[in-house]
Amino acid sequence: MGAKIAIVGAGPSGCYTAQALLKRAPDLEIDIIDAQPVPYGLVRYGVAADHQGTKGVARQFARLFTRQNARFHGNLRLGHHITLPDLRRAYDVVVLATGLAGDRALGIPGDGLPGVIGSGALTRALYEHPDAAALPSLGAHPVIIGTGNVAIDVLRLLAKTPDELHGSDLGPAPTDWLAAQEIRQITVVGRSRASAARFSPVMIKELAELSRVDLRLRFPDDAEALNTAVAATSGPLPVDFRFESRPVALEQVDGALRLTVETPAGPEQISASSVISAIGFVCDGALDRAALLQEADAAPPGNLYTAGWFRTGSVGAIPQCRDEAQALAVEILDRITPDVTKPGRAIFAAHKSIVDFDHWQRLDALELSSAPGNRCRQKITCREELLNPATHEDA
């Protein structure tokens, strides 16, 4: 019998790591553990509702459980239902692929004021993550801070008309919420020059195709995609890109937020009904990331490895998760020495609340079959229903 490996986190990094391991060593016993009752991490709860093609990787990940003999143990949170020392005692190798669920704070005075929202918290709410807070009110003039792909995802969803969300999996409550915001203007603020922004040109191209937007650039630049988009749009919703604008302070003034930015033309003030920060992600504090990274990297190598965003920080999209997972799999297989006395998944026997992959397949089928005509899926949203799909079926 092969070595036993526990992978914590069923997002792209955990799944690609399992895939790469099983391709090289099909007799491994791989258990993928996730705090949520459903797999795939940010593929389900981060990748935009209107980018369904990107979510196609989930089909590959499903094969881990339906054909390649990996096991899914959902609704099992490391640090709550089970401890890391217990897991390490039970497995030859433990891989931490738990991602980064905390929003990086702006780090300026006033960044904790009401109306300041993290993009992670916002997208979790939009995509109906069971642990998400309620959707906040954004008001008529939200300001998005950050110029990465996540910032553009948020902007695009806020700017789309209901028709432009056709075929997505945005739920009925978030859809109604979007319509109720009555946004009149959106401002995107970034520190870098437009030509140095991190978003990819295809994301900007996509913005240029939206019927409602009128893109504008505060400081002209030679950013090609953006200039083309500015020239191509003239809708009723102004979207101001303010590059070379470093946020320095937030204040509350007359019931609105006032953001001060440092620009080449001196300090400027931007009034905002809400501020969405999209400047990256950090550990939400559930695990002691710094200590764990240090231990995983220590020589001689123990049986602990880290992968994905948990390891690298919130840089890199799904293709990078795949590349890194392949390298990690080789590293693990080079070093692993199976110990037949390790109990592996037997230690979960007492955890009656664990759900398996069959459970997810039932949820998946329900979500697909209950989708209204203009949506490709209707997510089951609350944890109780995710754990008892039958209650949903009867409803």
């Binding site: 895939q19 093609g53 089909r59 075929g167 295809v202 191209k205 795949r322 590349d323």
Partner: protein, 149 residues
């Protein structure tokens, strides 16, 4: 028949489809499966038929794993006039202007080196409800049947 299956991928979907094609053909044919990243143009000269699955990325560019192979095709200018290939694209019609461009560019590079393209170049649309294997397997079987007669 000796059939070599290759894939060019960025997030693994083309690899999965290439595996499905290999599985679908292996009972009746002698098949091999390789990532374009681990292949050279010379490898196309071994089998009677080469089946290539290739996605698109960025703005209609080749996926990462096909790029070094394409560079070799351009740099070493191999003579592929005895090579026969059939290519299947993966794409997403949301990228309307560059839909299926990755597989198209690769096909063009091969044809420019003298290789003969068999049949059309179907593109599976990630935005559709079709499963790529349901489109690709009948397509490849029809090509093989055509070669046998």
């Amino acid at each position: 028949m000796k059939i070599a299956i290759f894939f060019g991928t960025e997030t693994g979907n083309a690899e999965m489809l290439a595996e499905d094609i290999a599985t679908g053909l292996e009972a009746e044919h002698e098949t091999s499966l390789a990532d374009l990243a681990d292949s050279s143009p010379e490898d196309l000269k071994v089998a009677e038929l080469n089946v290539i699955v290739c996605s698109s990325y960025g703005e209609g560019e080749l996926p990462a794993s096909a790029k070094p192979f394409a560079a070799q095709l351009a740099d070493s200018q191999p003579d592929l006039s005895d090579v026969r290939f059939a290519i299947f694209g993966l794409g997403d019609s949301e990228y309307a202007e560059t839909y299926g461009f990755g597989s198209m560019k690769l096909a063009e590079l091969l044809v420019a080196r003298g290789a003969r393209a068999l049949d059309e170049r179907p593109v599976h649309d990630a935005a559709s409800a079709d499963l790529p294997e349901d489109v690709a397997l009948p397509w490849v079987t029809a090509i093989i049947d055509g070669l046998a007669t």
